[in-house]
């Protein structure tokens, strides 16, 4: 049973008439309720991969299958970007409400769900606020609420905390984990922060650039809640960094 199966996915861009590969033969599965972290240097195509999964770009080779084989309906995929991408002319509540546009929910039900998801990310008091009245961390939480409100089977996150300071980042990581405990959703999170990848992921996929490909996969079999100071995490970080930097030192 898999939530997402990626099989032999390759992609190249035409640059000045020359095909330049950005992803080369990527294969991995994501199990239901699993968190998979993808870490790699910039330019390794990790963001491109997410765009392929969510369907923003359909020009690739290989196959991306959402939802298990037994499941007949296609899985819903949500996405959180590095920038919050809230609509500046809509209130936070109205932004979250956009997630229900494709559904047939009635107004009171939608309203109740907007409350629910804003409460989940701790923004209950900001339903009527506009995005520019929020701090960076709050705006990002609102974006997460909007993505969760879609009730996706798979949540893709493209460096969601990349633009935030390190303290806020740790807090949001913990918040994300507690939301994940409550909602049970598969998460694929792309980051260039190895600690973040290890702290969040059940599995960490290390990618390398030119062309983007999977270099190594680490299974993180540590029980949650994890301790950031756990020596086993530190050891894994060493190994991850060696894989990442070792390759760069060669090239």
């Amino acid at each position: 049973m898999t939530a997402l199966a990626i099989e032999h996915v390759s992609k190249s861009y035409a640059l000045n008439g020359v095909q330049r590969p950005v992803l080369n033969d990527i294969s991995f599965d994501v199990a239901p309720n699993e968190i998979v972290s993808i870490v790699g240097a910039s330019g390794c195509g990790k963001s491109t991969l997410l765009r392929l999964i969510v369907g923003l770009d359909e020009d690739y080779r290989g196959s991306i299958i959402q939802g298990g084989v037994s499941d007949t309906k296609a899985a819903k995929v949500g996405m959180v970007f590095q920038d919050h991408r809230l609509y500046p002319w809509l209130t936070v509540g109205a932004n979250v409400d956009l997630a229900f546009d494709a559904s047939n929910l009635r107004k009171p039900e939608r309203l109740a769900r907007v409350h629910h998801y804003l409460q989940l990310v701790g923004l209950s008091d900001y339903e009527k606020a506009y995005p520019k009245q929020l701090s960076g961390g709050m705006a990002q939480r609102a974006a997460i609420a909007r993505a969760l409100a879609q009730e996706p089977d798979i949540l893709l996150m493209d460096e969601p905390f990349g633009a935030l300071d390190s303290i806020l980042r740790m807090r949001l990581q913990d918040e994300l984990l507690s939301i994940w405990e409550k909602n049970r959703v598969s998460i694929v999170i792309v980051t260039h922060d190895v600690e973040e990848a290890l702290y969040l992921g059940n599995r960490v996929i290390v990618m390398e650039p030119d062309p983007g490909r999977i270099r190594d996969v680490f299974e993180i079999e540590l029980a949650r809640p994890r301790d950031r100071a756990d020596p086993r995490l530190a050891a894994l970080k060493q190994r991850c960094l060696a894989t990442l930097v070792g390759r760069e030192a060669l090239s």
Binding site: R85, Y87, P88, P131
Partner: protein, 277 residues
């Protein structure tokens, strides 16, 4: 070192600012500076007419002009002419700007439509409104419909260009969010496309109205029987240059105020839409 010392004493002078005085001064500067040039022109005009440098038939004295202005104001001639002109602008604007908006939306949103219609539109737009006048006079006569068509055209072009620009520049990131959330076409238009176009629509409206105003005066001068532009032609025919000058001043001041008002409205809209945030 001397420079340094000088700067120091300068700083000290500014270190104890009288905020109230400073505000009054900056306000005075803002009001006085723009008025310096008109005052200079007025003085030159006065000197030229009083000293007889220019024949009084061609350049009447400022006080005569003022007198005529007060007479025209009292008799209601100016108000009547202005009312006629403004009604035309309003009609031409309503027709031209709304058609321009729809057309802009079409060529901004659909590349096919732009490929078919865009080049023709841009070529026709390059012909100034007045360039249309000879053929339109033959087609429509010099009746009201002529003015409305010219004004509608004057409003159509800037409105279409701004709208198309706005429709093309919907932020890509927000469009991707709409794709992922699978927004319905209706929601996408009213909650994404339209709001993101608001600043462009606002500047389209401003450009349309100032274009319309300029074209209107010319059309009324060339093919009119009433309105502000006609008032000026009429003054010239009677060799009453004071009326012509009044017409010019009224048109200038009204045009300036119109543009100022619309700019204020535009920046208000921009701030409200969060486009500058």
């Amino acid at each position: 070192m001397t420079t340094f010392g000088a700067e120091e004493s300068f700083r000290v002078e500014r270190a104890a600012p009288d905020v109230q005085l400073w505000k009054v001064r900056s306000l005075a500067l803002r009001l006085v500076l723009p008025l310096a040039l008109p005052t200079g022109i007025l003085a030159l005009w006065w000197a030229a007419s009083v000293n007889g440098w220019v024949s009084p038939q061609v350049l009447p004295q400022p006080d005569w002009v003022l007198q005529t202005f007060l007479d025209l104001l009292e008799s209601g001639d100016i108000a009547a002419a202005a009312a006629v002109s403004f009604r035309r602008i309003a009609e031409g604007f309503l027709i031209g700007a709304s058609l321009g908006f729809l057309f802009g939306l079409l060529i901004g949103k659909s590349e096919t439509a732009d490929a078919y219609l865009g080049p023709t539109f841009r070529a026709l737009a390059a012909v100034p409104s007045i360039g249309w006048l000879p053929i339109l006079i033959l087609l429509l006569g010099i009746e009201e419909s002529l003015k409305i068509v010219i004004l509608a055209k004057a409003c159509f072009v800037p409105m279409a260009i701004s709208t198309a620009e706005g429709a093309r520049t919907v932020p890509k990131g927000l469009t991707e969010v709409a794709d992922i959330l699978k927004l319905r076409a209706r929601t996408r238009f009213f909650k994404l496309t339209l709001p993101s176009m608001v600043p462009f629509i606002a500047s389209g409206i401003r450009l349309s109205l100032s274009q319309a105003f300029v074209s209107l005066i010319v059309v009324e001068m060339l093919a009119g029987t009433d309105g502000l532009g006609y008032m000026m032609v009429w003054g010239r025919t009677l060799f009453q240059l004071d009326i012509v000058i009044i017409g010019m001043v009224v048109v200038g001041v009204v045009g300036f105020l119109l543009d100022w008002l619309l700019k204020q409205a535009e920046s208000f809209v921009r701030r409200g839409s969060g486009a500058d945030a």
